[in-house]
Symmetry: C2
Subunit: 254 residues, 2 copies
């Protein structure tokens, strides 16, 4: 397939590399930030433009990987007639592309993408489009770069994106809080890395509910009380600790 | 080294296997639950007893891996004179063993241990004892089964245990909540596994604070509002979502 990438951030970069690695051609990178576009074009060894009048008209799929807010205004700046145009956002309806082309859809990578990382992660994709033909074409395309592709409408995709916020953004924030706590208490956060890895490893073969451990699930009031007293200087962590303890108790009394 | 294991649960089982794999001898398993002791003794191919009068007196180290609450009463049931005796608990002072032996300490595995898992995880150890000689001996011993051994007193160990609760127990509960949400909304929780793995992978090379993503850190009020409305039927998740959003905002305005 011939692809034009619109955008030059994390999503555009990682998708561009994945797509190229699967043997497709990236015809062009188009964007607003000249430095970022030039960098990505260099990585992908393809031309770039920041003037959207010069967007290459020969691609099979146009992948728009820009900020959610910018997507709302994309129809004012881009018209691709009948070309297949997709965005990559979890929480934005496909209909935001209604005036951009007669064939539009979504190619949502359910993954945390960081352009500076050296590895290319496994990426499940959720695809959607305004016609069955386009859904099938996007599904076939996504399957060339992923082992896990599912069709999901706007509502389903929004819900999966919400679940992704829980397991990725919130989990990462727990790690950040633990790291901050370790710094304040002069503990070595890196000591916790094998435990963090094991927590992930465990749920690949077990339901997380079934492998819950810790003072809250065993109703160990003495340890909970001791932990809350250790957190006296960290009021934000006290709130979080209490909420998790209540939530774990409640899930495991059912 | 010759080891007696007191206890037959997750910690005793995984430590027993690790210790044996490093070439030490497990002389005996002692416990209260005959079935569990017999099972563990079969795994380790060693004798067992549920009568603590018959605890083997020839070991170099006695490792007590029993519930925190049971540890409080251990001195009523066990006297090992001058033998080196350690417990494995994160939140219990070494002094709980004061009347059990003249040489006592702690060998705390900073890991989530599950006896039914086939793999043996990497385990950082925190060691402590009531004398320098015993600390050195425990440290040398722990280094035969782990690449990461640190000396840590009661207070430090309690704090690290608290941080472990954040990154393991609370993270696992986030996964359990996400799985429950997915079930209720008929979404496939397994779709999230590559994302969960990537979240872990990322913090091995970056500070979690530096790789925070999501609506809260980019102050995307529209998505936050939409997520809260999607969670209308899940009041517990609403509370958690709001607390995390506030906490992420607060960490990233600093």
């Amino acid at each position: 397939m011939n692809i034009v990438l619109i955008g030059s951030g994390n999503v555009a970069t990682v998708l561009g590399k994945k797509i190229q690695a699967a043997g497709h051609d990236i015809l062009q990178v188009a964007g607003r930030n000249e430095t970022a576009c030039a960098e990505l074009a260099a990585v992908l060894k393809c031309p770039f433009t920041i003037n959207w009048s010069f967007i290459n008209q020969q691609a099979d799929i146009y992948i728009i990987a820009i900020a959610d807010k910018a997507l709302e205004h994309i129809h004012e700046q881009l018209n691709l007639d009948k070309k297949i145009v997709v965005h990559t956002a979890g929480s934005v309806s496909k209909d935001v592309l209604y005036s951009v082309s007669k064939n539009f859809g979504v190619l949502y990578p359910l993954q945390s993408l960081h352009k500076e990382k050296e590895w290319l992660p496994e990426i499940p994709f959720l695809v959607d489009a305004n016609s069955n033909d386009t859904i099938v074409l996007l599904q076939d395309f996504a399957e060339t770069i992923s082992l896990n592709v599912q069709v999901a409408d706007d509502e389903t995709r929004k819900k999966i994106h919400l679940a992704a916020v829980l397991v990725n953004n919130f989990t990462n924030h727990l790690y950040a809080l633990a790291e901050e706590y370790c710094k304040n208490e002069q503990l070595d956060f890196k000591l916790l890395l094998p435990l963090i890895e094991e927590t992930t490893e465990c749920i690949k073969s077990s339901s997380p509910k079934d492998v819950q451990t810790g003072p809250a699930v065993r109703r160990d009031e003495a340890t909970i009380k001791m932990h809350l007293s250790l957190l006296e200087q960290h009021p934000q962590l006290v709130k979080l600790y209490e909420l998790f303890t209540a939530s774990i108790s409640s899930m495991h009394k059912k």
